[in-house]
Point group: D2
Chain length 120, copies 4
């Protein structure tokens, strides 16, 4: 994400809100429907990677045609997520910071290093 | 998302990167695995809303206990999405702006107003 | 599901196995990839219902064009699920019966009646 | 899936229907909600495999503790899928056979052998 446009997020939210309002789509965008949109967009992203092996996933993602297609899918996920946060009044950066604080407790550095499972 | 911290996104990405690096988790975070993490977190968000009806979804989301739980799930989705973008080199705001431009063509205001389906 | 073809399941599994074998696709069908296929197919099914309200969902599903499209998506989910079970050696009916036994304990009739949440 | 209980599927559907009816849960089980349940259960299955590499996925799945946990998640996916089919009147084996016929046309053996992408 870009460091060069520090005011990017609020103006992006504004653009999304306008896009929806012009089309009178708020009626479809209750939180439940937006979550369904989010999971379906996440599923499309998963479809791109289903037959790509772990070993090839980084290189595959850098291939220009794949990069463009994946970027478009990621954008759809991001749009759904931002619309959901907008509708429910969740401040996503704050929510992420809060969750990171929880994760720092649940996954202490000394016991979690190099381990993907949650410590018991 | 907050208007009050215009430089929030880059610093948030920095925090996430540190969290992962300290735990030596880059080895697990290839794009394929991060997409699986994303869909599983999106699935947990869907679990919250599966028995909530459309009519109740807005009010349900505002109830403090639900709001907190949903915020935590949304944060997990956001974290997975940001880690994926970080790993693959996708600038999420740019990708979203690009997709919005495409959507403006695919869903012209005059024919899409009040219709949830894609014009043929 | 049909009562008229009691031996339908084993022969269906046989057909699926042949379809995969003829195309030499076992190489792509490790359990991880099949789970990604499953979530992406489930996401396509979710895409069908994202803007359909709860109140309309039954009638909408019976409309012939929707029924056919949804059936095709459901089939994809079913195929992914059966291929996953085939690959991992899980007997799906047995697994379902085992989970139902667990659910009968976790959701006793007398306290769960008419309530969608899990008893504490 | 078991060859030993050829009449397993109809009796399993009957058990599921009873489980739901006893708890008066039909009110929650419209097709939209059941799809949300399905994607959330599929997401839980994806959670199990997110940090498992392709190379280890088969062996990992056979480890008894993993096998049991995965079986329980797969059962939840299967239950959601069967409840959805029951509610919408979709005969899953028939739907799968229909989709296989379509796939045989879309993925001819001679051009699809050893290739995971769809022929153009």
């Amino acid at each position: 994400m870009s460091d060069s446009v520090p005011d990017g997020l609020p103006s992006l939210i504004h653009e999304l809100r306008e896009f929806v309002r012009e089309r009178d789509w708020e009626q479809f965008h209750d939180p439940k429907n937006l979550v369904m949109a989010l999971v379906s967009e996440a599923g499309e992203l998963a479809a791109e990677y289903r037959w790509v092996s772990n070993d090839e996933a980084d290189a595959w993602s850098r291939t220009p045609a794949n990069f463009d297609r994946v970027s478009a899918e990621v954008a759809d996920v991001g749009i759904s997520l931002m619309l959901f946060c907008e509708r429910t009044g969740i401040d996503l950066p704050s929510a992420i910071r809060g969750k990171l604080a929880v994760n720092r407790v649940n996954y202490p550095v000394e016991v979690s290093r190099g381990r993907s499972d949650r410590p018991r």
